[in-house]
């Protein structure tokens, strides 16, 4: 049959997969190995992948040498969750308006959102810093949440719009005939149907918000107890003598929750990421 592979093709495919995965996973495997080493084995020449005296001791030690670690992880989750909620609250109604109603400026607005999604946050950092200063938001969670959400709204609008456009307009018309108001129709008829799509977009937004919380926290926050994990660890990374074994143990602890979340939700995340590909 068409999909039957010859033996050498199979060898090629699996060899390709193995090479690909080596590149993708090597830093994680190495980080895990280092996290198990005692400090004298970390700084030992020649390099050995499997060192002597490997143990989970560093995973205990990090909570003592970095007392804020737990707080940073909670902050990371809290900030990502707040970014997601705020972003969805803004992008869902906007996407619905753009998908369903004809009005002046509609195409113009879509272009504006498209343009915004192309400007990196780092480019606008000066006025953003001044804005946060003027609003008195420096060193607050809000300074990390609000800009974080703003830069995810355009993508949210594009993805949600394609979900709304797939819902037949007759559903709304039927509701209007029955005398339902437009807000009621949106809340009780359309949003429940679009719910699976909204969940997908929310999960994707959350993962993105968790992965990219560095710039705003680095620039707008100097209070250690408000830091998300990446910036918290960055300080311990910036030191002259990095305790690599502990840094790697803390990194593994920090990425584990989101990796577990990914494995459980990966079906939805993949759907969210690729929704645009199929529609375009």
């Amino acid at each position: 049959m068409i999909n039957r592979y010859r033996w050498w093709e199979l060898v090629l495919i699996y060899a390709g997969m193995a090479l690909f995965l080596t590149f993708m996973l090597a830093p994680f495997i190495e980080a895990f190995m280092v996290s198990l080493r005692p400090l004298n084995e970390v700084f030992r020449i020649p390099y050995r992948f499997i060192a002597e005296g490997m143990s989970l001791a560093n995973y205990h030690q990090i909570w003592i040498s970095q007392p804020m670690l737990g707080r940073w992880i909670i902050n990371s989750f809290g900030i990502a969750l707040a970014v997601t909620v705020l972003s969805m609250m803004c992008s869902i109604p906007a996407a619905y308006a753009i998908a369903r109603f004809k009005f002046k400026l509609r195409d113009g607005l879509l272009s504006v959102f498209l343009a915004v999604s192309m400007v990196g946050a780092a480019v606008l950092i000066i006025p953003l810093y001044k804005l946060m200063l003027a609003l008195g938001l420096l060193n607050t969670y809000a300074a990390m949440i609000i800009p974080g959400a703003a830069f995810t709204v355009p993508t949210g609008i594009f993805l949600m719009r394609s979900y709304f456009m797939r819902i037949p307009a007759e559903l709304e018309e039927a509701a209007y005939v029955d005398g339902a108001s437009r807000l009621y129709t949106m809340r009780r008829v359309i949003l429940p149907i679009a719910a699976p799509g909204m969940v997908v977009v929310a999960i994707t937004t959350f993962i993105t918000a968790y992965a990219q919380q560095f710039l705003f926290a680095l620039t707008f926050n100097s209070k250690n107890h408000l830091n998300p994990l990446p910036v918290g660890l960055y300080q311990f990374f910036g030191h002259q003598e990095v305790r690599w074994n502990e840094l790697m143990a803390a990194s593994i602890v920090g990425v584990l929750p989101v990796l577990v979340l990914y494995v459980f939700l990966q079906r939805y995340i993949v759907a969210g990421l690729t929704a645009g590909a199929v529609k375009e």
Partner: protein, 292 residues
């Protein structure tokens, strides 16, 4: 007179408010600041094009050149790797689902944490790459990847490719799966081999998706900040200072807001050119699609 329906506008208010305050206003403010000598001090004065003149005299061209090389190198590697990944993901072999799960972690974990891991990999004295390289005779002694100009440049590209490839793979896989099966079957009946089918069916039909991804990826890579900042902060001796890094350093580390803003405006102009190309290509592709 026709009555204006307020409902859609009301739905747009939250998004417009958030994006307007956080993105649109700062965009305008960046332009304004770029013509002033704004800094830490309270007063600021209009200085005309002085900030731009200074930038052009000193280091604009080398930084622009470096940014373009960094971006195009990284994007082309991501596309090639991403396409290979998509082909592997699309192969109907056992273990494919596991492969799909295992290639995503670089994209899922915090970018900064991924960079810490790479910083260790690049460590010359004790890191894995240098260590294994010495053991197998590739390097004669410790090799500090982030300490030499070209090595640091390549190293930051490799990390960027590592983070960006999974998404490209998934996106191209999704596009591949929309190609109608009967096209392959027709080619197969005509006796076309696998490689021939890939070249004559998959690749041409994938072209619009590859173009879209190439342009989006170019824009994201052009804007890339975290990876370079964490690995090298733009060093050694400026060898990884791209436009974004240069702007951040001028504005935030040295508090020269006016000069930083002028540099940010130059980035915006580059992005505008890229977006114009993107929109033009997208329009041409959709028009072609409709004509069929």
């Amino acid at each position: 007179m026709r009555r204006v329906d307020p409902f859609p506008y009301l739905l747009l208010v939250p998004a417009l408010l958030l994006v307007g305050v956080i993105a649109a206003w700062p965009l305008i403010e960046t332009f304004r600041l770029s013509f002033t000598d704004a800094s830490m001090k309270q007063t600021q004065e209009y200085v005309g094009f002085a900030n731009y003149a200074k930038f052009f005299q000193r280091d604009f061209w080398p930084i622009l050149g470096r940014t373009l090389v960094w971006t195009s190198l990284s994007v082309s590697l991501k596309l090639v790797m991403g396409l290979i990944g998509a082909v592997l993901l699309n192969a109907a072999v056992p273990g494919r689902a596991l492969f799909r799960i295992l290639i995503m972690p670089p994209w899922v974990v915090p970018v900064a944490v991924g960079c810490f891991m790479w910083a260790w990999m690049y460590n010359g004295q004790f890191g894995m790459i240098s260590g294994l390289g010495q053991r197998f005779g590739v390097f004669s002694g410790p090799f500090e990847f982030l300490a030499y100009k070209q090595a640091a440049f390549i190293s930051t590209v490799v990390t960027d490719v590592w983070i960006g490839t999974p998404l490209v793979s998934l996106y191209l896989l999704a596009a591949m799966q929309t190609i109608p099966k009967d096209l392959y079957e027709a080619a197969w009946t005509d006796g076309a081999g696998r490689l021939y089918r890939f070249r004559r069916v998959t690749l041409p039909l994938l072209m619009p998706s590859i173009t879209t991804m190439a342009l989006l990826s170019t824009i994201w890579t052009f804007n890339s900040f975290e990876i370079i900042w964490i690995l090298t902060e733009g060093g050694p001796r400026g060898s990884t200072t791209t436009m974004i890094i240069d702007t951040y350093r001028t504005a935030i580390s040295r508090f020269r807001y006016g000069e930083g803003a002028a540099r940010a405006v130059m980035i915006l102009i580059c992005l505008m050119v890229l977006s114009a190309i993107y929109l033009a290509l997208l329009n041409r592709l959709t028009r072609k699609g409709r004509a069929k």
